[in-house]
């Protein structure tokens, strides 16, 4: 896939992450309803698990919050031992929300209506 055929998730969504013991959660919020419908198809549990493979995530559960145009991803064992024991600099998964926005998804045909609306 060439660069023009993909977009960064961050073009159509924003995110926040935190820890749940040794697991992490990443909330992803589409800017628009169109973007939410699109991400339903492409931002799968499998895709997110592959993306975070280097953190040795063992399982990913996706939960939908359609009225908020949002998803919650639960990343199992993502923190190398959790806030209390992990030796990593990011013991609490604070970086993962920023990280996931770099994930590449295929460029949707109707990208224009998925971008952040300008008020």
């Amino acid at each position: 896939m060439t660069a023009t055929q993909t977009i960064r998730l961050g073009e159509i969504a924003h995110a926040r992450s935190g820890d749940k013991g040794n697991h992490a959660n990443v909330g992803v919020i589409a800017y628009t309803w169109a973007g939410f419908d699109y991400l339903r198809d492409v931002l799968t549990e499998q895709r997110v698990k592959e993306y975070f493979a280097e953190l040795k995530v063992t399982r990913v559960d996706r939960f939908e919050l359609p009225r908020l145009s949002a998803f919650n991803f639960l990343l199992y064992n993502a923190l190398g031992g959790g806030a209390s024991q992990s030796l990593r600099i990011d013991t609490q998964g604070k970086l993962l929300g920023t990280s996931i926005l770099e994930l590449e998804v295929p460029r949707p045909d109707s990208l224009d209506i998925m971008l952040r609306p300008l008020h």
């Binding site: 909330g27 919050l65 806030a83 030796l87 970086l95």
Partner: protein, 456 residues
């Protein structure tokens, strides 16, 4: 009539001016201050071990001094805080000394305790409660693990009891963060304890404001548009029917909009259909969130189900020692030099006879901390970060002495060791479990400042 609840602390170490600014500018009915992260209590437990009159969030006393004018000028203002940590009564006594000196000896302080259940564990086990780790299912073996603290997340009921008995300041140990908001709402509106949808609404409001500025622009994706240097802290404006608004003061920076509030709604949640608190099982998927003017967001349609039958209990046990140190490595071969330094440290430690239970070498600046951060061009500056964990304190001590020698015996282009050796810290591991509610007794004591103050 809506009630306004502002939260001006999201953890122990949060901004010290936020409570005063929010209290003086926020036209609040209640100021909440949340100090206890998951492992804060294990640290406070060790503080209490050394000094039986300590073990609470000492920051609160400094904050309380700054709040004296607001307390004197705003008769309706009340404070609800979990600053009590491992020692709520001692916190109340120390707070009373501050208040008495300011002529507020008539103020009633309510103390909520009973969350500290470590001493009750044998009783729980005798009652057939295996105290399984709810992540792994493993039963607790108290002979094998050295526990330092165990606290139940109490709910809003004892807070309501304290308020009903006239407390103007309520100091708790561990309670669910959202309950700091649910308590005032139930007290003011007289909701029933089976009024699940309204309890859910107040819990959602509490969840949104519990981390302070994270609801008002902190961590916001579009941070560069905001004046975060003067960020305001969040205010929840609750109605008797369970609808609420999130807002902030006009004078402050930051932003409250659908995006900042939704980001915080999703913060540290699991299954959004079952956000469990001691008060209610909340469904986040029915929520409607919409912009309602500048820095104002309306949240409606919270739904809840019957509260879980157990309290969550967080226990912490000793799990060895840890240390980590950093060195800046520069040059066009910075990455390979940093890798070599990492190897040398552990070669030298091996020569001295030390292997470690766990070790980690990170090359900060090269994109190792999470996916998506790899630099586009050549890296000529790397922060080498080396960490170990081990059961033996002395082995970790020895590790902290192995970074400095690289300054003279490693590659050229190293800096950043002027601050000296890094310190060895004990590790507290976390044991989350459930205990049936009937085994835990919350207690409430409400007395005037002058009465708290006379006790030793």
């Amino acid at each position: 009539m809506a009630i306004r609840i502002g939260n001006a602390a999201g953890f122990l170490g949060d901004n010290l001016d936020a409570p005063r600014l929010l209290a003086e500018q926020g036209n609040l009915d209640y100021l909440t201050l949340e100090y206890l992260a998951e492992l804060t209590l294990s640290i406070l437990a060790r503080v209490r071990e050394k000094n039986p009159a300590a073990g609470y969030a000492a920051d609160f006393l400094e904050v309380l001094k700054s709040l004296l004018p607001a307390l004197q000028n705003q008769p309706k203002l009340k404070i609800v805080t979990n600053a009590g940590g491992m020692n709520p009564a001692a916190c109340a006594r120390a707070a009373s000394a501050v208040l008495a000196k300011a002529g507020l000896g008539d103020v009633s302080i309510g103390v909520v305790s009973g969350d500290d259940v470590l001493a009750e564990f044998p009783k729980f086990q005798a009652a057939g409660c295996k105290l399984e780790n709810f992540d792994t299912g493993e039963p607790l073996d108290t002979a094998r693990l050295s526990l330092v603290s165990a606290n139940a997340y109490l709910g809003a009921k004892p807070i309501v009891e304290a308020l009903a008995a006239g407390a103007r300041i309520v100091i708790t140990g561990r309670v669910a963060d959202a309950s700091l908001t649910v308590g005032p709402a139930v007290h003011e509106f007289g909701w029933g304890w089976q009024d699940w949808n309204r309890l859910a609404a107040a819990s959602v409001a509490g969840h949104v404001i519990e981390c302070g500025a994270q609801a008002t622009g902190g961590l916001y994706r579009h941070w560069e548009e905001l004046d975060l240097g003067h960020v305001g802290y969040p205010i929840a404006e609750l109605e008797a029917d369970g609808k609420f608004a999130i807002t902030k003061t006009k004078e402050s920076g930051g932003r409250v909009n659908r995006q900042t509030v939704t980001e915080q709604l999703l913060y540290e949640i699991g299954d959004p259909q079952h956000y469990l608190t001691p008060d209610v099982d909340v469904d986040f998927t029915t929520l409607e969130v919409r912009d309602a003017g500048e820095n104002r967001v309306h949240v409606e349609n919270a739904t809840g189900r019957e509260a879980p039958p157990s309290y969550k209990v967080s226990a912490a046990y000793r799990s060895g020692f840890t240390a980590s140190g950093q060195l800046l490595v520069c040059g066009r071969d910075a990455v390979s030099k940093a890798e070599a330094c990492g190897r040398m440290i552990f070669e030298r430690l091996a020569t001295a006879g030390y292997e470690y239970d766990e070790k980690l070498v990170e090359y900060l600046g090269t994109g190792v901390s999470a996916p998506g951060f790899r630099p586009a061009g050549e890296v000529r500056e790397v922060m080498l970060r080396v960490s170990v964990r081990d059961a033996r304190r002395e082995a970790v001590e020895r590790f902290t002495k192995e970074l400095a020698p690289l300054i003279t015996s490693g590659p050229p282009g190293l800096a950043g060791y002027a601050s000296g050796r890094s310190s060895v810290r004990p590790v507290f591991a976390y044991w989350p479990t459930l205990v049936p509610k009937e085994l835990v007794t919350a207690s409430v004591e409400v007395k005037k400042v002058d009465e708290w103050n006379t006790q030793a």
